[in-house]
């Protein structure tokens, strides 16, 4: 679905909007409009605007030579007419435009008020039509009339962050045109609001990346959970949908993310590593510098605030490496909530430091001894606990998995990672990276790293799975490589399992990636080919862990080391003019003991 932000008049607006995945920008060359810009103003705006975003000139009864002049000088790339033009005028303009610039495009907006408007719109010889309820007065076109349009159209008039999802659901338009709906009152008149510009596009992109069914990503996702939990899940879905649209909630979350967790996290140019490898410029997204030392805090602050808003007083969570457990215990301490963390016995032994931290923060850590006594069993046990005690308890799931709304909600909370990367890399490099990489267990840091790049098809998205001792052994956790479609832990997705659907015991040196499934959105990104998933072994990860420590003085989490390992290969294959971004999802202090053991050294403190 394409999106046009129309009536742009200020350089600040351009600066802000081009960080967002907007498809078109509109300049209004109609003198009577509040948002009128003259040729010189438009030229200045065009110069500030990212060349990959076409500008559309909006005209009312304008002389053809004047339009062509703007096109010729590259101030606009396309033309939008108002709909009452004679057919001869439209055809002449169209022909001259194509002669002048083969890639130019002509649109025509129609105000739908009666049946004859429909006929005219359906018959218009332009490339694309826009449908409005009034002359740019923010009026909506009538639903009954819209349904009679037989060609793709851009819906315009009266759109805003508040109603856009509903409009998409009702009409499935080809695109959206918005102007007054993303404005606010400034000191010197109306202006485009950065918050509204951002929330509008976010809602649109989310909606269009979703399948028709809510909570489905392609065939994946869903809500496969016991009836006992359905009410709680429905309540959570409703509360989250409301919170998401509430600026006060978003503002409070931003405040905690910035002032408490230390966002935005830095995008660091790893110069020494880049030189050493001799390929693309390598940038590291430093989620390890967040409070509690990993990306997990982004999601936990969001969910804890939501839980508080819902009147819950107790948080329960699963944890693998302990990072999500520590983050949850931290948020519980911060907001004065009770906290219980379920952790596999095996992981408790591997991650003693994090267990100590959780207890120090006031959480109870419950050792899970069933099954393989790792992350999967911790999730099962947390789910069981939730069915026992629902009214005061929120299950703060740590990854983009489980039943809807968790995969979407956790993704939203982690998407701040790619939102920042996109802005930071454009600022530093002036263009998008060739690839972004992240490690994948359930996949929360990976989806956070990918999300805002999903519409940017030139950017490769690479998820690095834990291959353990190799994908040809039984001791692996690389779900995309060895798993098959299944239903488990509330979702349909890919899982490591045997021929009768029994979930396989998986293995990785990294407790955080030691999970037999993958989030449903990743499964869908894999199906569509938009993202690729590659296995990285224990040994490769350990080597990358050691490499980054020595090369850049950054000790990464062993989970993140999986992404570094593959990122090193990718960097070598790319040219020096390109850049890649690797997400360092967490810090590696917690892993020193197990990496030392892997190298045959026993650390005793």
């Amino acid at each position: 679905m394409v999106v046009k932000y129309c009536g742009i008049t200020k350089e600040e607006e351009i600066q802000y909007l081009q960080k967002l995945p907007i498809d078109y920008v509109g300049f209004v060359f109609y003198k009577k409009s509040k948002r009128f810009v003259d040729k010189e103003q438009a030229r200045r705006l065009r110069e500030k605007l990212n060349p990959s975003i076409p500008a559309v000139g909006v005209f009312v009864e304008e002389e053809i030579p004047k339009i062509l002049e703007l096109l010729q000088e590259g101030i606009i790339q396309g033309v939008q007419l108002h709909g009452e033009e004679e057919e001869s005028y439209v055809l002449t303009l169209k022909e001259k435009m194509k002669q002048l610039r083969g890639d130019s495009f002509l649109w025509q907006a129609f105000i739908l008020k009666e049946e004859k408007d429909i006929e005219r719109a359906n018959a218009s010889p332009v490339d694309l039509i826009l449908l409005d309820g009034g002359k740019g007065e923010g009026k909506e076109a009538e639903a009954g009339l819209l349904q009679k349009i037989h060609r793709p159209y851009i819906l315009a008039g009266g759109l805003s962050p508040e109603n856009v999802v509903e409009k998409i659901k009702a009409f499935s338009p080809y695109g959206l045109d918005v102007s007054s709906g993303i404005e606010e009152q400034g000191e010197d008149g109306v202006r485009k609001s950065p918050e509204k510009m951002e929330s509008f596009i976010r809602l649109v992109k989310e909606r269009s990346s979703m399948a028709e069914n809510i909570g489905r990503f392609g065939i994946h996702g869903g809500q496969y959970i016991p009836e006992t939990l359905m009410q709680a899940i429905e309540e959570l879905d409703k509360a989250y949908t409301e919170a998401k649209a509430d600026p006060a909630f978003q503002k409070e979350l931003s405040r905690y993310l910035n002032d408490y967790a230390g966002r935005p996290s830095r995008l660091y140019y790893a110069e020494k590593m880049t030189k050493d490898l001799g390929g693309a410029k390598i940038y590291l997204k430093r989620e390890d510098l967040n409070h509690t030392g990993a990306h997990k805090i982004n999601n936990v602050l969001g969910q804890a605030l939501l839980a508080k808003r819902m009147g819950k007083t107790r948080l329960i969570a699963e944890t693998g490496a302990g990072q999500h457990g520590v983050a949850t215990a931290t948020a519980a301490a911060l907001f004065g909530m009770e906290c219980v963390v379920f952790m596999g016995q095996e992981d408790i032994e591997r991650q003693a430091l994090n267990v100590y931290k959780m207890r120090l923060l006031g959480a109870e850590v419950v050792s899970v001894k069933t099954g393989t006594a790792t992350l999967k069993d911790a999730v099962s046990e947390a789910m069981r606990e939730w069915t026992k005690r629902i009214s005061d308890t929120h299950y703060c799931l740590g990854s983009v998995m489980g039943p809807h709304p968790f995969p979407t909600m956790v993704r939203d909370f982690q998407a701040v990672i790619s939102k920042e990367i996109r802005e930071e890399i454009l600022e530093k490099e002036g263009k998008l990276p060739a690839a972004v990489l992240a490690c994948v267990g359930g996949g929360s840091n990976a989806i956070g790293t990918f999300y805002h790049f999903i519409p940017d098809e030139g950017v490769e998205l690479i998820g690095c799975e834990a291959a353990g001792r190799g994908v040809d052994t039984e001791e692996t956790a690389a779900t995309i490589a060895v798993g098959k479609l299944g239903i488990f832990h509330g979702m349909k997705s890919y899982f490591c399992q045997d021929e009768f659907g029994q979930i396989a015991p998986v293995y990785s040196i990294s407790a955080g990636l030691d999970y037999p499934g993958i989030g449903p959105e990743h499964a869908a990104l894999h199906d569509s080919g938009r993202a690729k998933y590659v296995p990285v072994t224990d040994l490769e990860a350990v080597e990358a862990f050691e490499y980054l420590s020595k090369m850049e003085g950054i000790i990464p989490a062993i989970e993140s080391a999986h992404a570094i390992s593959y990122g090193m290969k990718v960097a070598k294959e790319k040219s020096k003019e390109e850049s890649i971004v690797i997400c360092i999802s967490g810090r590696g202090d917690k892993d020193c003991v197990s990496v030392a053991r892997f190298r045959g050294e026993d650390l005793v403190e």
Partner: protein
């Protein structure tokens, strides 16, 4: 072979659950026969799953023992088929979505029908997701049995209206396993469910004693017992048939 409806026709039904393959499938067969001889009206046959998220420790461990013993879905079909020759009470399978999904939903229903099974309970498939399996179930005459929980509230109407076979009423919050007392107001819950459907309602989760069974049967059409049965089997090696037979008879006697 009797139908699910028949099981509820003569007074309150006693419905034992048994995990197939714990300790082995031959034992399962003997134990089912013993329970039927002692008054069981309908048998829930559990197909073991590695990660049964709705089960408490007793059934979870039974599942894991069965899997460690090598029990597979295929073998459960075979055992059921053999058992079907000897007993005529209705059987329903109780397992998890992935067991059915990975076997192939259609193939699973075909095999289940062949083995003489009348219904299927999937605790991780709520009303919203039943489409996944519903058509295949219907094509082979397998009732996809829905569950109602104390938290279902305004979901009850739609669940009850579309219910097939019988309704599985979850007695209380939490997972399966014995409870000292059941605090849910079952009388109002059942009244509510029954205002939307004529399908029989059986209550399960947490019931182990005669007193509880008697209490529950005041409002319900049947009583389901699972963990208490698996515990008796596990704790009485060598004499499980006798112990279980006696237990089932005593439970049935108060209904």
């Amino acid at each position: 072979m009797r139908s699910i409806k028949d099981a509820f026709a003569k007074g309150k039904a006693f419905i034992p659950f048994i995990t197939c393959g714990d300790p082995d499938l031959e034992s399962t067969k003997k134990l089912v026969k013993s329970m039927v001889e002692n008054g069981a009206d309908l048998i829930e046959l559990g197909i073991p799953f590695s990660d049964p998220t709705a089960e408490g420790p007793v059934i979870m461990e039974a599942d894991l023992r069965a899997l460690q013993g090598g029990c597979t879905t295929e073998q459960v079909f075979q055992m059921t088929k053999e058992l079907r020759q000897e007993v005529d009470v209705p059987f329903v399978y109780m397992t998890y979505a992935n067991v059915v999904f990975s076997y192939g939903s259609r193939k699973f229903m075909e095999k289940a029908k062949e083995a003489g099974v009348s219904g299927l309970i999937l605790p991780d498939v709520p009303y919203e997701e039943r489409e996944e399996f519903l058509q295949d179930c219907r094509d082979f005459g397998i009732a996809l049995i829905s569950m109602v929980a104390p938290t279902s509230e305004d979901r009850i109407a739609k669940i009850a209206k579309d219910a097939e076979g019988f309704l599985y009423i979850v007695s209380s919050l939490g997972v399966t396993g014995e409870r000292k007392e059941i605090t849910t107001d079952l009388s109002s819950l059942l009244k509510m469910v029954k205002s939307h459907t004529d399908i029989p309602c059986a209550v399960g989760f947490g019931i182990s004693t005669k007193e509880q069974a008697k209490e529950v049967a005041q409002y319900a059409d049947g009583v389901i017992v699972g963990s208490a049965i698996m515990k008796k089997i596990h704790e009485n090696p060598g004499k499980e048939e006798a112990v279980l037979g006696e237990y089932v008879a005593s439970m049935k006697s108060v209904l």
